[in-house]
C-alpha cells in the first residue's frame, strides 16, 4: 500500500497528539494519600525515600521544589523516590495543586495529603514536627533511616543526603 506524504503527516500528527495527551495526563496526575497509604508507599527496603511536605501557598516550599525534582531527575534510574506531599487544602486539588504540577512539569510524584485533620497528619509523620512548612522526611526501612528536617534544602544538601544514606 502506498502511503502519501499527507497520510504520513496525518498519522504523525495523530501519533503526536496521542502521545501528547498521555504525557499531559501523567503530568497532571496528583493522587491523594493518607498517612496509612504513605506508610505503605515508603516500605521498599531497597529504596531511599525523600518525602517533602509542601503547599502551593508556601513560598519557601515552592522555591525549593525544583531542587527536589532535580534530585529525582538526576537519580531517576537509582533506588531513590522523591515524593512531594502537598498539605494544601483538600478542596484545592483541582484548582491549585493539579494546575501547579502541570505548570512545573515535575518528575517527582506529587500527592495531596488526605487527612481528617492537620494535627493528626503532623503527629503521625513525626512527633517533632511543629507543623510549619516546608518539612522533609528521609526514610528507609532496611537501614532504619528516619530523619526529619524542618528547613529548606539546596540541591547540594539534598544530594549529600542521598549520597550519605543511599
Amino acid at each position: 500500500m502506498k502511503i502519501t506524504a499527507m497520510q504520513r503527516n496525518v498519522r504523525f500528527l495523530v501519533f503526536m497528539a496521542l502521545t501528547g495527551l498521555c504525557v499531559f495526563r501523567a503530568d497532571a496526575q496528583v493522587k491523594t494519600i493518607s498517612y496509612a497509604e504513605l506508610q505503605k508507599r515508603i516500605t521498599n527496603p531497597d529504596t531511599l525515600y525523600i518525602v517533602n511536605f509542601w503547599a502551593t501557598w508556601c513560598g519557601p516550599c515552592v522555591s525549593e521544589l525544583p531542587n527536589f525534582d532535580k534530585l529525582q531527575r538526576t537519580y531517576k534510574d537509582k533506588p531513590l523516590k522523591v515524593l512531594l506531599v502537598s498539605m494544601d487544602f483538600q478542596s484545592k486539588l483541582k484548582t491549585a495543586v493539579i494546575p501547579f504540577v502541570k505548570r512545573h512539569k515535575m518528575l517527582a510524584q506529587v500527592y495531596l495529603a488526605l487527612r481528617k485533620s492537620d494535627q493528626e497528619m503532623i503527629n503521625d509523620v513525626d512527633k517533632n514536627w511543629s507543623g510549619a512548612l516546608p518539612a522533609t522526611l528521609v526514610f528507609n526501612t532496611k537501614k532504619h533511616i528516619h530523619q526529619f528536617y524542618e528547613k529548606m534544602f539546596t540541591y547540594d544538601e539534598l544530594n549529600k543526603i542521598y549520597q550519605t544514606n543511599k
Binding site: 501557598w57 508556601c58 485533620s117 514536627w129 510549619a132 528516619h146 528536617y149 524542618e150
Partner: protein, 202 residues
C-alpha cells in the same frame, strides 16, 4: 506493618533530627512584653488590668493559612474580649524578607479588616522566640493567676483549616470556655500547620 514501623521509628529515634522545641508549654508562666501596636502605641499585657487572661495569636498578613483564620481570630475577640479574654495578635515575621508583613502593611490590614484587637509587631522577634511559635497562625491561651500569666493552651485555633468539617474541634474556644467555668482545658496543646516564621538572616 504498623507495629514494625513503630518499632523501627523507636529504634532510630536516636538519629532522628529533633527540632528546637523551646518556648512555652502548658503550665509555663509567660513573661509580659512591650510591643508596638498598629496604632503607634506600645502595648503590654499589664495594660489590661481587668483581663482574666488572653488569647495571644501569632499571625501575619502574608500567610494564606493566617488569612484563612483571620475571621475566626476576629470572632474570638468578639466573643471573648468582653468576657475577660481579649485577643492580642502579634506579627512575628522579618518585614525585610517578607515585605507584605511590614508595619505599614499591618496598619493597612488592621484598618481595612477593622480589627477590634491590637496587632503588634515583634521587631526583635524575641517575644516570638520566647513563646516558641514556629508557624503562623499559632495561638496561646493565657490565664492570669497569682503566679503570673499561665499558659493553658498552645497550638492551632481549631483542627479544620477549611471549615469543611462540622464536627471540628475548636481548641481555643474549648480552652477558654473551660477556664471560664473554672476548669483546666481538656486539650492543652496541638500542632499548628502554617507558614514557617520568617526569621531575620535566615
Amino acid at each position: 506493618m504498623k507495629k514494625l514501623l513503630i518499632l523501627m521509628l523507636t529504634a532510630v529515634s536516636a538519629v532522628a533530627f529533633k527540632t528546637a522545641d523551646n518556648g512555652y508549654k502548658a503550665g509555663d508562666v509567660a513573661a509580659d512584653f512591650k510591643l508596638k501596636n498598629v496604632t503607634g502605641k506600645m502595648l503590654s499585657l499589664a495594660d489590661y488590668s481587668n483581663a482574666k487572661g488572653f488569647i495571644v495569636v501569632f499571625t501575619c498578613n502574608h500567610c494564606p493559612v493566617a488569612q484563612a483564620y483571620e475571621k475566626r481570630i476576629m470572632a474570638l475577640d468578639a466573643r471573648y474580649a468582653s468576657k475577660g479574654y481579649p485577643v492580642i495578635a502579634i506579627s512575628p515575621n522579618d518585614p525585610v524578607a517578607e515585605p507584605v508583613d511590614s508595619y505599614a502593611n499591618m496598619q493597612k490590614r488592621a484598618a481595612e479588616r477593622k480589627y477590634t484587637f491590637p496587632y503588634l509587631i515583634d521587631e526583635t522577634q524575641n517575644i516570638t522566640r520566647a513563646f516558641g511559635a514556629q508557624a503562623t497562625p499559632t495561638a496561646y491561651v493565657l490565664q492570669k493567676t497569682d503566679k503570673g500569666m499561665v499558659v493553658q493552651y498552645v497550638g492551632a485555633i481549631d483542627n479544620d483549616q477549611e471549615q469543611a468539617n462540622p464536627a471540628r474541634t475548636k481548641f481555643v474556644e474549648n480552652a477558654v470556655d473551660a477556664l471560664m467555668s473554672g476548669k483546666k482545658p481538656a486539650v492543652t496543646e496541638s500542632k499548628a500547620l502554617g507558614c514557617r516564621i520568617v526569621w531575620k538572616n535566615s
